[in-house]
């Protein structure tokens, strides 16, 4: 069980949170402009990185805010947490 430092509520037990998968996959502004392959990329295709990954998490049982997390999926170490909308500090 991780301890997650919610950018709004502070450190809380993992059970208060929901994981939202890979971060920075923006919903296409004009889906109708995309062909089926491009739409499938958005819908289904994922990097699923082993190592440092950008993720979305939601403090579902607290303030209900979504935020971004930088986490090493190989050992579950949380490197960094930053608010939605903030640009990812590392590329």
């Amino acid at each position: 069980m991780f301890i997650i430092n919610c950018p709004f509520c502070g450190e809380r037990d993992q059970s208060e949170f929901k994981a939202g998968g890979e971060a920075h996959i923006e919903r296409p502004k004009q889906p109708t402009e995309l062909n089926d392959e491009e739409w499938a990329e958005y819908l289904f295709m994922r990097k699923n990185i082993k190592g440092i990954q950008f993720e979305r998490w939601n403090h579902a049982h607290g303030c209900r805010k979504w935020f971004n997390m930088l986490r090493d999926t190989s050992n579950d170490e949380i490197k960094l947490i930053y608010k939605m909308g903030e640009k990812s500090p590392i590329e």
């Binding site: 509520c9 450190e11 809380r12 037990d13 059970s15 208060e16 049982h61 607290g62």
Partner: protein, 187 residues
């Protein structure tokens, strides 16, 4: 004429703990972001909404709890009238906030049941079903947290040392009370 029936019938006493529902209590959910929203609220209920996370503020009539950067819950400090659920303050804030698109005001008086816990065993009880770290919380008058108790979403407000108001959605309240009754019997 409609009769009032709260979800938790009787008050319960255990070693070092008293548990009862307080009714009726007006509860309003406030949403808003900008400064004008905050000042309008401030003017109309003459108290300022707490901006610091996990805290509350109160005036003679109301207590307001921080729920998220753009969400608060205001409750009436006194019990309301069972024959009448038209709250002046709701009407007022709705017209000043919702109508003017400064934010949102929603009546949640019965969305939540307010369970009052008194006694030195409060946190022994909570820690049997809640992952939250109360070590600092229990020393801090007015502290507020949203967390899970028995996998149920709750809002916990430390009214004063050894007095806690526990807010839980009404449909969960009977189940939670039954669990509290079970756990408290072993304190």
């Amino acid at each position: 004429m409609l009769n009032y029936q709260s979800s938790i019938k009787e008050e319960k006493t255990y070693s070092g703990l008293i548990v009862k529902e307080v009714v009726p209590v007006m509860k309003l959910n406030l949403r808003g972001k900008n400064r004008e929203f905050l000042s309008t609220i401030g003017k109309n209920i003459n108290m300022t909404l707490p901006l610091e996370a996990n805290t509350s503020s109160s005036s003679d009539n109301y207590t307001s709890m921080w729920l998220s950067p753009d969400e608060w819950m205001i409750i009436s400090n006194y019990t309301a009238d069972k024959e009448n659920n038209n709250y002046q303050i709701e009407k007022l804030l709705f017209s000043k906030i919702s109508k003017t698109n400064l934010g949102a005001v929603t009546d949640v008086s019965d969305q939540f049941v307010m369970i009052n816990l008194k006694g030195e065993k409060i946190f022994d009880l909570l820690s049997t079903g809640c992952p939250f770290n109360f070590n600092e919380f229990k020393k801090k008058n007015g502290a507020v947290t949203q967390t899970l108790l028995l996998q149920i979403d709750v809002i916990i407000h430390l009214k004063e040392i050894n007095t806690v108001n526990l807010f839980v959605r009404r449909s969960f309240s009977e189940h939670l009370m039954s669990w509290i009754d079970d756990a408290a019997s072993r304190l």
